[in-house]
Symmetry: C2
Subunit: 347 residues, 2 copies
Amino acid sequence: MKKTVTIHDIARIAEVSSATVSRVLSNSSYPVSDKLRSKILRIAKEHNYIPNLIGKQLKTNASMTIGVIIPTITNPFYSSVILGIEEIARQNHYHVIVCNSLHNPEFEGEYIKTMVEKQIKGLIISSISKDVSLLKQFMRAGLNVIAIDQKIDEDEITQIEFNYEKGGYMAAQHLLALGHTRIGYATSRLDRPSRRDIHAGYLRAMEEAGLPALVEESQSEEAFNSTGEFDVGKRLAARMLAASTPPTAIFACNDMMAFGVINELMLRGISVPGEISVIGFDGIEFGKMTHPPLTTIKQPDYEMGILSGKILLDMMRGDENPTLSVTLQPKLVERASAAQAHTSSPI
Amino acid sequence: MKKTVTIHDIARIAEVSSATVSRVLSNSSYPVSDKLRSKILRIAKEHNYIPNLIGKQLKTNASMTIGVIIPTITNPFYSSVILGIEEIARQNHYHVIVCNSLHNPEFEGEYIKTMVEKQIKGLIISSISKDVSLLKQFMRAGLNVIAIDQKIDEDEITQIEFNYEKGGYMAAQHLLALGHTRIGYATSRLDRPSRRDIHAGYLRAMEEAGLPALVEESQSEEAFNSTGEFDVGKRLAARMLAASTPPTAIFACNDMMAFGVINELMLRGISVPGEISVIGFDGIEFGKMTHPPLTTIKQPDYEMGILSGKILLDMMRGDENPTLSVTLQPKLVERASAAQAHTSSPI
DNA sequence: TTGTACGCGTTATCAC
DNA sequence: GTGATAACGCGTACAA
């Protein structure tokens, strides 16, 4: 592993000062004679010079990398978000550091800290921690942060969120429009704002329709992976079926859980949507690949990535706009898992 | 955004030299009196000192971050790999930079280059480029690289791969054991070693059984996302059904494609596995959530991430072991999409 | 045990 | 147009 060539080496060989080399190789706007310029470029090429961005960064204090912290990359929803963020990053010659908090506040805090130590100036985070003091402290020290997906209770932080309440409302609304009256809502623990909002939307729709709410909430702190959600879906579906008059439609708080619900129903020989309709929430790609294809409420995940990336870069460039926050709107994706209720209605 | 506090600030306040501060704060083994140590620590805490890792790195030339380049994070297979890599990275206080090449060799090259400029010393890559010259050049300059999943034709590069040939063989073997004799193989373009290997495994099994191979290969360079693979699956299934005597079992070269195959079959009222059995390849989590749950050949993706992370770190620490390469073994995951062939066998 | 002084690779300031 | 030279924040010989 031979020593790497620096601008000083180039300078020595070209018999110029390192200052001139720097001006050429970092294509600064500073005037340099064409003769020297081409000579330097030639020599740099010959010795295949590779700029050391660390040296540059120490001087300029601009790291060209943005950090992203999410619960887990394994969730396709976050994959899409990240793809969007990276698209913007790439266009602007930035790199993306991805960290999975795995729903562990300690990991999250640790990651934030070392990011700051690495002089990362921009962070996009779907935080699972209640404690924003750490974040705020670093923001005061110059860290730009955007909170996505999970609302953070802090006005000073730019947020990009979904209109979860509306999404929940739309889902219930869709089932109501199909003629269902006994509509169950299957949800994991209502311990996060997003989940409470979806729940609230569901309740609002049911109330407006003058129908009773049927909520099954999982109390367990499951492994928060896709399999975990799937299993919760199965369990909650089973609970709903145990009722004296089971629902004719089930709304699950995320797609993975909806798959679990459908799986449990089919296992019991209940046809979907023949006997019971199911609607999901999130709109991940896989919904179209299952049988039946999943009707769901789509959150624009990729767009969220794009948007948060753009806004973050704007912030880092010093656009001192008043911290604007954005709310993305959900969209109903009608596929085949939710259908008209039977006219041979309730027993 | 006030100026950040450095070791010199601490030194001035504590009335010691910055060298002493450095020794304490970077907890070097260098001896420092307990009195000064605690004093320095106290002051650092009071002024909440944040070490600047860039300064440190410029000095030590060790970046504590590893790069990962994959086709797309959207593919759950790669998500799992990355989760594994990050697990190891976190345990060792490393960060992971993730880059999606999006099957674009230019992006891949660009990413490699800027990683090197950022003084990243370790890279895990699932390369889609034919050209290894760039990689080799950087390796000579001290970059440690591990090629995963996609074989690179270069002995000097440490490789961690799957035994694709065996996987293909096992899949066909399983269908044969279930009594199928007309077994189709649906594959995307055979332009990558991995795909050719699976194909070869299938052929070997069929040959050993003395049965004819039935291969449908997609010629198109699709968008390489999950939806693209799904659509290819649908298309290839349709083609197979158009044959005079369609197969009774279909082996798809990846799970996403298998979902497409199943979807197309069900759309045509063909029961899976009642009339036609389907087996996939990869073993992504979603396979268990579909209906019917997908029988498939599991590649240990997470384990691949763990392993590649470990080996990479070993390399970076200078274990001058002879470049060892590892091959991970596939495993049959029996779920419900492949069943016994009808005894009322061929027409 | 502590301090001094230099260098890591780059850019920026100033003088020429 | 060009060249010295001083930072940037840190670690570390070497000296004390």
